[in-house]
């Protein structure tokens, strides 16, 4: 790892207060731990993928980094500076450097604004004195860059397809030339052929502009394609992290192994032949997570000691870390490689 990572999350916690309806105002609210002690590092120019099932806290993690959700513990260090300690002006400047791409392409665009206005909004917000002609020129250039005809600048979002809307969202995220782009399931609302186009566009832009990227998805095969490194989240915690190839071919954590064995292989013979690991049961409630290892209720390797305390993170070298004392790679996964 580099000496000073570009973005560093240290034991990050995000907690929501949940009030039971009809409770007295002075009753202490129950806590929902959406993100519960996540530590991750991101190097400049790197793409970090985050996978996990619904409700594992991926989106909350993204929102904490971007600053729309308050953190309740831990630190976010952006280029070595703690976000919580930034002053208003610094914070504003930081917002320029971190942009986000959203899940639902149409919902992320204001239906009453033209495409040009939408893409220009970050620019106009941070540099209100930019001459209008220059704003328009930059918007047009960027539209072309993301694969939209610049003469559509005066159109409205409802006149575009989902894939085009996502391109508009990408253009808006890139107009300030940010250093970090967080993609919150940017392709899960698109159909497969459009997914490929958007992902290729993102990869190309990342390479050309030297962006750092956090790519959140629940589809492991998509994440594997775009990421340099992958973190696997479960119930607000990181279960395993490592280089994309390493993690997908030799997963160590039982949860990762189960996830990978659930990725379909596009060959019926191989698909039928391979052994399957199925996770049974539901995701436990984050209001009342299991003690010790949060995955133990659904883990096939769970033992009595798992309930006692939170498992230590084992470093396997080359940045491959796993939060399970009974980790081991298994031969069954060779088939997917």
């Amino acid at each position: 790892m580099m000496s000073a990572p570009f973005l560093s999350l240290q034991n990050l916690q995000v907690t929501f207060d949940v009030r039971r309806p009809g409770a007295w105002p002075w009753t202490p609210p129950r806590k929902l731990h959406a993100v519960n002690g996540v530590s991750l590092d991101l190097a400049a120019g790197e793409c970090l993928g985050i996978v996990g099932e619904s409700g594992s806290g991926k989106s909350t993690l993204a929102r904490a980094i971007i600053g729309t959700v308050p953190t309740s513990g831990g630190k976010i260090l952006f280029e070595g500076k703690d976000l919580a300690e930034m002053e208003a002006g610094e914070r504003r400047a930081h917002r320029r450097d971190v942009q986000m791409i959203f899940q639902d392409p149409l919902a992320a665009l204001n239906p009453r604004m033209t495409v040009g206005e939408i893409i220009a909004e970050p620019l106009v917000t941070h540099f209100p004195k930019t001459p209008r002609a220059e704003v328009k020129q930059r918007v047009a250039k960027l539209m072309e860059r993301v694969g939209l005809l610049p003469n559509l600048i005066n159109r409205y979002p409802h006149e575009f397809s989902g894939g085009q809307c996502q391109r508009i969202g990408i253009a808006r995220a890139l107009i300030l030339e940010p250093k970090l782009v967080i993609c919150d399931e940017p392709v899960s609302a698109l159909d497969v052929s459009v997914q490929a186009q958007v992902i290729n566009l993102l990869m190309e832009l990342q390479r050309d502009m030297g962006l750092s990227m956090i790519f959140i998805a629940h589809d492991l095969s998509v994440v594997k394609h775009i990421s340099d490194r992958i973190g696997v989240m479960y119930l607000g915690r990181i279960m395993e992290e490592g280089e994309a190839d390493q993690l997908t071919t030799r997963p160590e954590h039982p949860y990762t192994q189960a996830l990978i064995s659930s990725v379909p292989i596009p060959d019926p013979k191989l698909e039928k032949a391979r052994p399957r690991e199925v996770i049974v049961g539901e995701l436990p409630s984050p209001m009342n997570p299991p003690s010790g290892c949060v995955f133990r209720t659904r883990c096939r390797k769970a033992q009595a000691s798992c309930a006692a305390e939170r498992p230590q993170v084992v470093d396997l070298g080359k940045g491959h870390k796993v939060a399970c004392p009974f980790h081991e790679a298994e031969a069954l996964l060779e088939a997917t490689a």
Binding site: I66, Q99, R112, M113, T114, E144, R172
Partner: protein, 308 residues
């Protein structure tokens, strides 16, 4: 691999397409509105009534205060509508020209409705959007205040105000303005709650747009549809309220008049056969209400096509 930049460029250059004008949701709504015959008819009638109220006084032979002494005491016999003596709509029981008075009354009535509705739009929208957007304790305080104000019987208070501070048109405007925004604030807050959770608002927050700009740029334009509809439908209600107050004799004072006051005067004279004194004001009153209601319904259908 897509996008092929050189291809795109050549495509743009070759066709040299002018910028395409987008169809905004507003222009879509206009098309839908224009297709609605009842609404367009309402709009035409409304325009005609507005023109009548603004320019009608140019054609009057008498002012609304002047008394035609020749008709004095014999209004119910010879005071009917007539072109020769210049009383197009006839004269009232004092021999004043009804045409001039209807022009003036229509103007006052519409003004009460429009001003009250404007107050509702401006105050109610900003108040409701602020409460809804910030939420939490501020929302609680602001909306409970509205609840308390709403629980006060408005007509009663308005009558008391007019009795205590004198019967003046200003007091009527103040009174109507004070209550008209309450419902609007509630409606707008409800809409804001649903809009603020949309991703484009989150995107704006993430970009660092200031809260007030978010309210004005992202939230208000998206709830303007409902606001416009409600404001249009509010106007007839306010005209009715004003007419009711004037009917009780508390609203607009002589020599000024409003449709409500004219109808009240006319209803007393019906017994003596002076039918025109109630017919003309009533016609303009009903036509205005119907026109506003039809336009309001048309706007609602046009701006919210999902509801049909």
């Amino acid at each position: 691999m897509y996008p092929d930049k050189t291809k795109m460029e050549s495509l743009v250059e070759a066709t040299n397409i002018a910028e395409v004008k987008g169809r905004s949701l507003w222009s879509d709504a206009r098309t839908r509105f224009m297709r609605n015959k009842a609404a367009v008819a309402g709009l035409v009638i409304l325009t005609a009534i507005l023109l009548f109220a603004v320019f009608g006084s140019l054609f009057q032979a008498w002012t609304h205060e002047a008394i035609d002494w020749k008709l004095m005491g014999r209004v119910s016999q010879i005071g009917g509508p007539s072109i020769e003596n210049g009383h197009y709509f006839g004269a009232d029981e004092l021999g004043r020209d009804l045409y001039a008075r209807v022009v003036q009354g229509t103007g006052i009535s519409i003004m009460v409705g429009v001003v009250g509705s404007l107050v509702a739009v401006v105050v109610g929208t900003l108040y409701g959007a602020t409460a809804g957007f910030f939420g939490g304790r501020l929302d609680n305080i602001m909306m409970r205040t509205v609840d308390i104000l709403m629980s006060i019987p408005f007509m009663f208070v308005l009558i008391l105000m007019l009795v205590i501070w004198g019967r003046s048109i200003t007091m009527l405007f103040v009174g109507i303005g004070l209550i008209s925004w309450l419902d609007m604030a509630r409606i707008v807050r409800g809409q804001t709650l649903s809009i603020k959770n949309k991703e484009f608002v989150e995107a704006a927050i993430a970009v660092g747009v200031s809260p007030f700009t978010i309210i004005l740029r992202h939230i208000v334009p998206n709830l303007l549809g409902i606001v416009v509809v409600y404001a249009t439908l509010l106007i007839p209600g306010l005209i009715m309220a004003e007419s009711f107050i004037s009917f009780l004799g508390l609203g607009v004072q002589e020599p000024m008049t409003s449709l409500g006051a004219l109808i009240q005067g006319g209803s007393k004279q019906m017994l003596y056969g002076a039918w025109w004194q109630i017919t003309f004001p009533l016609f303009f009153f009903l036509a205005t209400l119907f026109a506003f209601t039809f336009v309001g319904d048309g706007l609602r259908d046009a701006l919210d096509p999902k509801d049909r």
